[in-house]
């Protein structure tokens, strides 16, 4: 059984239909990259999976359980699915460590003392041990984004969603954030990325999906999709970005 299974997901904002029936299946430990032009529905799809946006129609199954059921309490589901945003969205009034501890303390009910060691270990693992007591505005963009990733990981999610997490970064800071993703990949994390980093998608993804106007127009292993795309529109898009 797939870890995550999207069946005919549709989502509109007013008259604007952003997702027009998306089917996607993600296996445990798989890394799926969503590519496509701005406005093709990548970000909205990720926000729907995390239940930040309710979907209009279709189903989202997590371990076979329909999490898109209207009226379902979204909090425990969100705690199982981490998401990292393009604009970091760290809480500016808390240090990096406090940002990371907030949800484990309030949602999982862990004590500050119990979290001290594992949180320190998380920061060390991503080479930020020296920075954990800094406030977000004392950190570079790349460091802030890595803290945001650590914050999501601290909830020990089963799936991680990444919404164009390098798009707001200066070019020289992109590498350190992609390295974190590489590390998570080798640790076997199930991941879905909306990304414009084509080289990265080609190097690491198990599956690449090309979204166009709210539909997955074409999907397949990166070698096939990048070297030998079937659809004209995929070809045109790749020609523009590569």
């Amino acid at each position: 059984m797939a870890k995550l299974d999207l069946q005919g997901v549709t989502k509109s904002f007013g008259d604007n239909m952003v997702c027009r029936g998306i089917d996607l299946s993600v296996d445990e430990g798989e890394m799926v990259c969503l590519i496509g032009a701005s406005g093709s529905g990548k970000s909205t799809l990720l926000r729907c999976i995390n239940l930040l946006e309710p979907i209009d129609d279709g189903r989202i199954l997590l371990d076979g359980l329909d999490i898109s059921e209207p009226g379902l309490n979204p909090q425990p589901i969100r705690a199982r699915i981490g998401i990292v945003f393009q604009s970091f969205n760290l809480f500016p009034h808390m240090t990096a460590a406090e940002n990371v501890m907030l949800a484990p303390r309030r949602v999982l009910g862990k004590s500050r003392d119990a979290l001290e060691a594992p949180v320190k270990a998380l920061f060390d693992r991503f080479d930020l041990g020296q920075r954990m007591h800094h406030y977000p505005d004392q950190l570079s963009g790349g460091q802030q984004q890595r803290v945001a990733i650590i914050r999501a990981l601290a909830m020990q999610p089963e799936i991680m969603l990444f919404d164009e997490i390098t798009s707001a970064l200066d070019p020289e800071l992109v590498g350190e954030v992609l390295d974190v993703l590489r590390q998570l990949r080798t640790e076997g994390m199930t991941m879905i990325l909306a990304t414009h980093e084509m080289a990265f998608a080609r190097e690491l993804a198990d599956k690449v999906c090309f979204l166009d106007a709210g539909r997955i127009l074409e999907e397949g292993p990166p070698e096939t999709l990048f070297s030998n795309p079937r659809e004209d529109r995929t070809r045109a898009f790749l020609k523009r970005v590569l």
């Binding site: 926000r47 425990p76 945003f85 969205n89 809480f91 907030l102 949800a103 949602v107 909830m155």
Partner: protein, 283 residues
């Protein structure tokens, strides 16, 4: 740091063309400002005493002897203003916060709270403070309550609390609205409930953002405590009135004004300083 080093470099070497130009410009504006200020001050000092009633005004408003005799008594009375302020302020802060939160509830079961919050702020921001003080300060004791429940201190304070809590609530609500929705989304995505998101993520930022605005409200409150004198409490304004009648001289009012300014000017300056600091941080 970089400013300092560049300054040192600038003074060690000859000024660049631009630095010399800006220096000339600065000196010129300083000279003009000093000159025009001096002219205005001179005009006031020389012309006002020429007015036909000046001697009478000087005697009844700026009488040094009366000032010296009444000022200690006024300071004593001002302690009453401070006391009223001190017991009103914390209640206003808490009530204002509660009303602001009422206006943000989403659950349909709690809709009455939301409605109450909206009506409350509309009503109390729409009334002159003095009118509320009269209505509550004279109206409630008129119910024939036993001592001490007929005290104008209680009901006058309540009037101030009700009015100022409405303003504080609006300020806090604007602070809540100013927090970008992406902050709520980030908190929600981690599994926090709406209440937890408000308490740990939105409110701490919102309250910090509106601290200067709230400070201005509390400065206004300190002044409006004087309005309670109309329903009884002998605070500094009322005390000044008593001295005025006793001595047939208006100087005690000037004394009261001096006391208010000694407190409000530093406080306003500090609020402005906070506000500027915040603006700099946000830009």
């Amino acid at each position: 740091m970089t400013d300092q080093t560049s300054l040192q470099r600038g003074s060690a070497q000859a000024l660049t063309r631009r630095q010399a130009y800006e220096l000339r410009l600065r000196r010129r504006s300083t000279t003009i400002a000093a000159g025009s200020t001096l002219a205005v001050v001179l005009a006031v000092v020389l012309l006002v005493p020429l007015a036909p009633g000046w001697d009478a005004v000087k005697r009844s408003f700026f009488n040094g002897e009366v000032f010296a005799k009444t000022f200690p008594g006024l300071l004593d009375a001002f302690l009453m203003n401070v006391a009223i302020f001190l017991w009103c302020a914390p209640i206003i802060a808490v009530l204002g916060l509660v009303i602001a939160l009422f206006r943000d509830v989403r659950s349909p079961a709690l809709y009455p709270l939301r409605l109450f919050g909206a009506i409350y702020t509309d009503v109390f921001r729409g009334l002159p403070v003095i009118l509320v003080i009269y209505l509550i300060g004279f109206g409630v004791p008129g119910l024939g309550l036993p001592r001490p429940w007929n005290s104008p201190y209680i009901w006058g304070s309540l009037a101030l609390i009700l009015v100022y809590a409405a303003y504080v609530a609006e300020v806090i609500r604007s602070g809540i609205d100013s927090i970008h929705h992406s902050q709520r989304a980030a908190a929600a995505s981690l599994g926090l409930s709406d209440g937890e998101t408000m308490r740990y993520v939105v409110l701490p930022q919102a309250i910090r953002n509106v601290a200067p605005a709230n400070m201005n409200l509390f400065i206004a409150l300190q002044k409006d405590v004087a309005l309670l004198s109309f329903i009884g409490p002998v605070e500094v304004f009322r005390q000044a009135g008593v001295y005025k009648s006793l001595m047939a001289n208006f100087t005690p009012y000037v004394g009261a004004a001096v006391i208010f300014l000694a407190l409000t000017i530093p406080a306003t300056r500090y609020a402005d300083y906070l506000m500027n600091k915040q603006r700099r941080r946000q830009s």
